[in-house]
């Protein structure tokens, strides 16, 4: 495996106000790989994803997509790169003002010179791939949560991207629908050989679809490897995550009392 990485992140640091959200992230993702970024809520994993697709600019560090440093590009230069990227947002982010079919057809209509009849056929194909054939004329508000995610996935793959990014694909879905989405992602991966990056905290999804896992904690990658490697890791935090152990309760009378009466200023 001497291929060049398709996504490369170097020393990425980001602040949110004065809080350090990402603290020196280094990560390489190979073409065709499914990388899951795992971590507890608020550890910065969604922020990392936003940086990779260039929605936010980092404080320092570099991000290379196919060898191109995207941190120095302007918004307009980014636009053409993003056409080769598919992104599935947490809430689906379908355009509520247009029917599902138009949602999927939109990138094709605006970015390609295809005939309208061709676009219609392609739209139906994409919707069929996610199991939503015949739903072109439904408005997003008429769909259930799982169907919205599927429709959003169809829109994300409309332009046949090389890279697919998913932000919490199974958040807020029941286990059966969630595993359905996971299988769908697997199916797409097999069919299109896409590089897939998934941000999640759902262990079941990780076991099913991940080639490699990066475990994020307080803005750093504390473990990186296959699912097996991480399961056998001796790192306490990794074990805590994989064995679902809650944080130990803090039993410090003084600090508890202080936090109740608000006397934090006797430093």
């Amino acid at each position: 495996m001497n291929k060049k990485p398709i996504i490369e992140i170097k020393d990425l640091v980001t602040y949110y106000g004065s809080r350090k959200v990402l603290d020196g992230i280094n990560l390489q993702i190979m073409p065709g790989e499914t990388m899951t970024i795992l971590g507890r809520s608020g550890c910065g994993k969604s922020t990392l994803l936003r940086h990779i697709i260039g929605l936010s600019k980092p404080s320092s560090g570099k991000i290379f997509l196919k060898g191109q440093d995207i941190t120095i590009l302007t918004e307009n230069q980014m636009l053409s790169i993003r056409r080769k990227i598919g992104m599935l947002f947490q809430g689906g982010a379908l355009f509520n003002s247009m029917p599902v079919g138009d949602n999927v057809a939109l990138p094709l209509r605006e970015h390609t010179e295809l005939e309208d009849s061709t676009i219609q056929i392609m739209t139906r194909m994409k919707l069929d791939q996610v199991g939503l054939a015949g739903f072109e004329d439904f408005m997003p508000a008429q769909l259930s949560g799982g169907m919205k995610k599927r429709a959003a996935l169809a829109r994300a793959i409309a332009m046949d991207p090389d890279m697919l990014f998913c932000d919490e694909p199974s958040a807020g879905l029941d286990p059966i629908v969630a595993v359905g989405i996971d299988h769908l992602i697997l199916k797409l991966k097999k069919a299109f050989q896409m590089t897939i990056v998934i941000v999640t905290h759902e262990l079941a999804s990780v076991f099913l679809i991940a080639d490699r896992v990066a475990l994020l904690d307080e803005g750093r990658i504390i473990a990186l490897g296959t699912v097996e490697e991480l399961k056998n890791s001796t790192n306490k935090k990794v074990q805590q995550f994989f064995n679902r152990i809650p944080d130990p309760e803090k039993i410090d009378k003084d600090s508890y009392l202080n936090s109740l009466v608000g006397e934090n200023n006797k430093l």
């Binding site: 697709i53 947002f89 809430g91 509520n96």
Partner: protein, 269 residues
């Protein structure tokens, strides 16, 4: 005492800087919108979205015809009554036609229309873009390779630029009709006399100064609405807040712009 003074200066300074960042970002947005409306299509870097523009023209323009017409008719009527109350004493009630015609075309037509449209459509622009922001739809647009300003702001901006002058012309006409209504049924001035009097009183300049104003008003309504939409934070409550702010800000700016343009017309033309 000095501490209090320092503190209040600090608060004042912070407020001022916050205000200035809003202003500079709004100017930035306006510049972007102008670029994507005028420069980019000419350079062939992305055409205009006419379908969406026409849809917005219907929403902003056609749908506000009834309310604009009703309000301007009433205001024309009110003005005619107030003017007649004074002018009748001098036996000069025919000058109601001049007063209503000139003030409607030069001032009240454009201003009332802009204020109604700001309340009706400016708020809708802010709410729509704000909701899209909350639902990550703006981010989705950007990841799909679309510039949100080009995709969302330009059609609304263009629609307002095209529709507001038309609405204003209609408002002028309906306002004059309101005055005419009173003159014919209450002041016993004949239809022909009122018409001739209005036609004599009005010059082309009156109409044009009114229409020039609408260009500024349209820009204000579109940019303030869009800006307030883009800065929405934190869900439904944020959308509500931004919507309110957009209406208050645009009405304020409309009146300021009106003052400035009127001053320029008054002193130079």
């Amino acid at each position: 005492m000095i501490k209090l003074f320092k503190q209040s200066l600090g608060v004042l300074g912070r407020q001022f800087f916050m205000y200035m960042t809003h202003v500079s970002r709004m100017v930035q947005l306006t510049r972007d919108a102008l670029y994507w409306t005028v420069v980019a299509p000419l350079r062939g870097k992305g055409g205009l979205r006419w379908k969406s523009t026409i849809h917005q023209m219907v929403l902003i323009g056609v749908n506000s015809i009834p309310i604009v017409a009703t309000i301007c008719f009433f205001v024309g009527l009110i003005m005619a009554m107030q003017a007649a109350y004074q002018l009748e004493r001098f036996g000069a009630s025919i000058y109601v036609a001049d007063l209503v015609g000139v003030s409607m075309t030069r001032e009240l037509g454009p201003l009332l229309t802009a204020i109604i449209v700001a309340g009706r459509s400016g708020s809708a622009i802010a709410a729509e873009i704000g909701t899209m922001k909350v639902n990550e739809e703006i981010d989705a647009l950007r990841t799909m390779g679309f510039n949100p300003v080009w995709f969302l702001v330009v059609p609304r901006f263009l629609a307002l630029l095209l529709v507001l002058p038309c609405l204003t012309l209609m408002a002028d006409l309906v306002g004059i009709l309101g005055g005419f209504f009173l003159a014919v049924f209450n002041l016993n001035i004949s239809f022909i006399r009122y018409f001739n009097q209005t036609a004599d009183a009005l010059v082309m300049k009156d109409l044009i100064t009114g229409l020039v104003k609408t260009v500024f008003f349209a820009t204000i309504i579109a940019q303030v609405g869009a800006y307030q939409g883009f800065i929405v934070k934190g869900g439904a409550e944020g959308v509500g807040k931004s919507t309110t702010t957009s209406v208050v800000t645009s009405i304020f700016l409309i009146i300021v712009a009106d003052l400035i343009t009127t001053m320029i017309f008054y002193s130079t033309l």
